[in-house]
Amino acid sequence: MAELHLRIVTPDRTIVDRKVAEVSFHGVDGGYGVLPNHAPMMTAISDAGVVRIKEMDGSASELFASDGFAQMQHNVLTLVCQAGEFAEDIDMERVKAKEAAAREKLAGLDRLSAEFIKAEASLKKALAREMLVRRRSGTGGLS
């Protein structure tokens, strides 16, 4: 059986470089699920998405990945992201602080300004991180 190789690359380092069973992530236009032998493709990942990895041994892990691109070629799926963090590495206090800062900023801004969009993206990222951590520790969040 063909195997799927997953690589997640960020500017600081390569986070993941191993064989996995299945990967799902959010693209700009919807969710993607990638199994071995997926057709070659290229797409953009959403600003604040969650990548779910099903390992070879059946266990699952999740990480936060933002602002990147995915490409599939010869059974290698490469995610090129600005940031990527496993749920267990996320610093909740920092996330909370970011969330608060973003909310505060949003309140005083014009909805169409560039700053508004920036602050909104920052809030989205904070919320996605938060949800990931919550889900992991079993205190709410969606499925």
Binding site: D12, P40, M42, Q71
Partner: protein, 292 residues
Amino acid sequence: MANLKELRGRIKSVASIAQITGAMEMVASMKLRKVQAKAQNFHPYTAEIRHMIERLAGHVSGDADLPLFRQREVKTVGFFVITSDRGLCGSYNSNLLALLDKQIKAAQGEGKQLKFWVYGRKGYAWLTRRGFAVERFFVEPPLDKADFAAAKLVGDELVNSFDEGEVDQVRMIYTEFASVARFVPTDEQFLPITSIAVGEESDNKYELDFLLEPDAETVFNRLMPRYLETVAFDAMLQSLASEHASRRMAMKGATDAAGRMSKDLKKVYNRARQETITKELLDIVGGANAVG
């Protein structure tokens, strides 16, 4: 003996200078290693982005709307200048600023307006001394601690001012790290992008048959700012590596020179000391003879 005392003082001061420059040399080479490690970790990211661009380029039609590729009449040139914060690094800054001087004069000769974005205190001081207004002087984080987020900030700012028509062209003045002993001041065009061929001009090395969502133009336009960030970060890392390597070389030269100087001084000192002893002996012998 005033002369002997003076020599002793000089020997001491030369030795302590050698100690300081030796320490600086060691610090610089450690920092250089750190920067090189950073560059190594960063490399896969750049390689992936480049790879995707090459794969995509053939899909983007020649008449697609690519704002960052748009050439227009150049009335204002923006310079992104990378220098060091501190001195004592050989000719690193002066070489770069000589190049900048040349480019400024060339641009002024053609009647263009100039704008500056600067990293490094040396460059900022140089520009303000000549009466140029600096659009933005990046201080936080310092280049030494700069991570990709810093490059993102720079990239965003440059792309924005290009987008809004404040500048028609952006050039990067930085130092290329050719080897640990060779640093080349470089002037590179940052915007509009000319280093990538799109449409039919691109050589299609890759199979064109793959799923592309939402569509080539959208993905490409999203990819470009990311690409520019990697270019900016690469320039920053190369400059930083050059700075440290240059400082290491300068400090090694200084340490060696101090070593030679201290050796010479010691020779002179010993000779002078011997001379005094001989003179004293002669005095004593002469005195004894006179008495006897």
